[in-house]
Symmetry: C2
Subunit: 414 residues, 2 copies
Amino acid sequence: MIEIDPERLREAFDRYAAIGATENGGLHRLALSAADGEVRDAFVADLEALGLDVRVDGLGNVFGRREGRDSGADPVLIGSHLDSQPYGGRYDGQLGVLAALETLRALEDASVETDRPIEIVDWTNEEGARFKPALMGSEAYAGLADAEDALAVEDGDGTTVEEALESIGYRGDAPVGPDGDLHAYLELHVEQGPVLENEGVDIGVVEGIKGMSWLSATIRGEADHAGPSPMHTRADALVAAADVVGAVRRLSARLADDAVTTVGELTVEPGSINVIPSAATFTVDLRSYDDAAVARGVERVEAELEAACDREGTTYELSELWRIPHTEFSPRVCDVAAAAAAERGRTVRRLRGGAGHDASSLATLTEAGLVFVPSVGGKTHNEREFTEWTDVVAGVGVFAETVRRLADEASESA
Amino acid sequence: MIEIDPERLREAFDRYAAIGATENGGLHRLALSAADGEVRDAFVADLEALGLDVRVDGLGNVFGRREGRDSGADPVLIGSHLDSQPYGGRYDGQLGVLAALETLRALEDASVETDRPIEIVDWTNEEGARFKPALMGSEAYAGLADAEDALAVEDGDGTTVEEALESIGYRGDAPVGPDGDLHAYLELHVEQGPVLENEGVDIGVVEGIKGMSWLSATIRGEADHAGPSPMHTRADALVAAADVVGAVRRLSARLADDAVTTVGELTVEPGSINVIPSAATFTVDLRSYDDAAVARGVERVEAELEAACDREGTTYELSELWRIPHTEFSPRVCDVAAAAAAERGRTVRRLRGGAGHDASSLATLTEAGLVFVPSVGGKTHNEREFTEWTDVVAGVGVFAETVRRLADEASESA
């Protein structure tokens, strides 16, 4: 059984979390920002200190390879992402990368040689906060999105992904995509929901992830003076948008038991206290394990836009930024993780996740798995995101043992 | 009867409108911006070319004085403002300043010496778009607001009024406020509403202006991930704000026949597609001629905030940025304007205005009046704001004749 070093893990966690730290104990480390560049440098230095072969691909995904007894065997890939939400938490993504790093360090400590090579990865732009969509690096790696298209994506200031990669020195030379088959992919992540904490369980073995759609809508009315314009002559874009925000909130209850619906962004033009809004632009995030419920949700949002604009005399444009079907993870990898947890005396709950993860992209390429540790209060994408350190240590221990087992599996068909 | 020169007026209009012009034929000349500095320079040059004595006060209000036969008599003050809304129109404010300039030029052409001095003014920050509240220069001049407080007001980037004044060279030495009594104040403005056009009338003589309140509300919820957070555990600040936006829209119908209610600004934090909004900040603009209806409106907005936050598990802060009672203009000045219009063969409608004007501030100091010219479609605070040139010429002619008559009135008590 692999033994991890909790103090070494803590040192790395604190050191990484200091890069882009916020006043309130959170993390503001948007994808490809200067802070993201700095934490990548720390990561690369840690990989090189382990003697790993480091490579960076054309989208900035950073890999390190630890050889196995059979260097020709399909490798096990492990990792997560180091970018954060705006004023987000310290655990989301970063903990998965550090769990993978600690796993390799623990194997090195114990001079364990696995049968298969193990590769560690930091995926570019998992969050999709600065550059849309999310899962940018892992989707391109898995062939689900085009790397050239991703390089051309602009942030709110018109900076492209390519320019941002170059500015932090992470536009790598390696081709985007796997160099042959993978044996498995494993990721550790905080749950970001309340299930494990509510049930007092140590480890979540994730069987699947909800499918989702991201929409962008713009409603156009007409700007006019808020004083002399009679109410009945107005075409107020914000009034129509507010109707849709309320409808999206209620929509979850119509679609499916597990459906969640959110408007996260909304901007108003021209945005002056005494001017009737001429435009309102907002996003919609729809999720369910039932892909048909997501599809119905998209139709309902359009119907609500139509109704609100008809009432208010406004017009709309609706576009879908992203659609991803639900993910089913590898039952075999789930079983290996559950067995590793049992051996270490940890309680396990199998569950479905609500958040997208790079593991979803990898599930289209290989046998993929995802392990959760509890999130206090289920809070995430928030500076108050928190996981008890004992839960972190338990989770990283189970993760490391699962990786070792996967890397010693005999054949691809095992 | 004073004869204005329509070609000279057109030349000045086109020249001023080119400063801060937008691609779509509008004007983007925010208070104390570089463009505002440039148009002020043009205005000062035009005043100096007329041989006027120019002074700038500590808030950047620009005055020019044309002496009368009796230089000790209380002067007639005329003017408006040269700042614009963001991507606003070319007539709002600017036309009133140019009507006053053309009036002085026409008097000079005809070598008319009036009994009283006439002063022309460009008021600082009428719009309140960049720096709040509106009517900043005229309210401080009239003693309704404190000039020192106004200098400390910050725009969205943290630049103060004082810094902005200094950066364009218009932090003047003259004290803010009148140097003795005024005989009268007169302003020309576009109607910004549909009444004159709908009724086919040339000139609006404004008897009064609605009172108003400007509110700012912030709703605070809790940021969380839009995927794994169950709907029932959320405290979504935008959902609560959207409820209030809808309630504000309906509120007008409860308050008074003439009440209008608008949410013009709304911003969301953190503003990420997959993050439940932790904060939503928005403004409310309430207006009615009935000051008690405005007061009831403020109470209703607070009640709606309370109800929405109770439903959604959020909290709120509400502050009133500005309250201004309804204005009643001088019946005597109204009569002079109506008589001048009749003499020039123009049709007149007496009406009440919905928009705040610098004339409201001046009405607390002196006998004040306001003359409207029609607005096509009633559109304003919009790049498509438009007034037919024949209506402009008619309005400026009536304005000039009214000014001449006021400046020849024998005594303060006339």
